[in-house]
Symmetry: C2
Amino acid sequence: MADATSRPGVAAHEVLAAVLQVRARSLRAMLWQRAREPHAGRWSLPGGRLGDHEDVEASIRRQLAEKVDVRQLAHVEQLAVFSAPDRVPGPPRVVATAFLGLVPCDIDPEVPEDTRWFAVDDLPETAFDHGAIVLRARNRLRAKLSYTNLGFALAPKEFTISALRELYSAALGYRVSATNLQRVLSRRGLLEATGRTAPPGPSGGRPAALFRFTGHGMRVTDPFAVLRPPRG
Amino acid sequence: MADATSRPGVAAHEVLAAVLQVRARSLRAMLWQRAREPHAGRWSLPGGRLGDHEDVEASIRRQLAEKVDVRQLAHVEQLAVFSAPDRVPGPPRVVATAFLGLVPCDIDPEVPEDTRWFAVDDLPETAFDHGAIVLRARNRLRAKLSYTNLGFALAPKEFTISALRELYSAALGYRVSATNLQRVLSRRGLLEATGRTAPPGPSGGRPAALFRFTGHGMRVTDPFAVLRPPRG
DNA sequence: ACAAAAGTGTTCCCTCTACACCCATGC
DNA sequence: GCATGGGTGTAGAGGGAACACTTTTGT
């Protein structure tokens, strides 16, 4: 056991990403199936070892580029460090920095043969602690949909309000009212009408107006519910 | 450069904590002065190398025990990973998991000779990226004071509303109204009257009632401002 | 009586929800 | 005309901010 990593304070460092996307009315995560032991056959998150000359965010973006075109990643943010000593059989011991990644619902990335999308609420048997990481990612997304403009990262460039409603409902896990969704996002200045409309379906109905998000970086739109600073 | 840590994906891992406390109407962070190069003389965060048989949270609690009695730490939570390749001169390369730690304002921990408290808004020259970590900690605290019960971690066991007001004002950086603070926290069921009162000051005034927080783990009290699930 | 500090009552405002109603299209 | 889906108007509830007012003490 004279492995270099057995020296105190030294560990292998990996980066992992729970990449989420809404498809077919459900929130899905990208997983690939391990070919080798340990945990052969189980499904795991994309990622890999941290490179010597990159920070963790650059690393996860680089490694995801092998699975998904980086331009398709609308948002990436750190989730947490997972560091239980036995989370991965060693040596070396492996510490992971986990990320949340979001992909708009209108793009269908070409993924490798061993990679598939699974509904977050119906995950297969996952490797190591990857199932817990996906749940953390889901919870973070749900929270931020409410007080930031993060919806832009799940939506296509242009969309109807009902399409956006489907999106939010799938991500949040409960029915969202189209009426109030439009009003809340409009009041916050996040939505912008394109002026164009989408054709109605075969059974008729008024054609839906197309909207887009006004900005594409994450912004906090509802900074504090209470204890606001005094006006003046 | 045949250092073991130069192998791809292997790095030294340290844990650091921005330990915050309100003292004398300002939010302060605990720093110690480096004796050795690099950055000798600069002020840095407590922490150290991750041990082989502990996760990052156990590690930071263990290492803080050398500076502060662990029982005095009312709250500890992960902030983020700091991993710029050159954040600390190497080799070995050092990746840090940063924490936020909170100490109630009524205890005055015995700290080592090289350790002092500094106002967060007036930090001395800090080592490495530790200044940025303290700012992240301050921002996290400010956000969570608004939508969680995290005030309990800054407050003494029992307190008057005006004392609590001072606390929140110092932590948030702006004047908070005692009237509304009491109402908000009471409505959320976070405050509990002890039935006892504090004696008035030398210039008179009505004696203040003493309160305590009803719980001591962090709870989210204002989960989402908008897009709530439908009732029913 | 007066000043000082604590606590309460009241009003206003803003935001989100719910639901009824109107609009534009296909058949 | 009528069904279908899109969009708006409006009333209601809730929570927080602001501020006046009352309560309780010391001098």
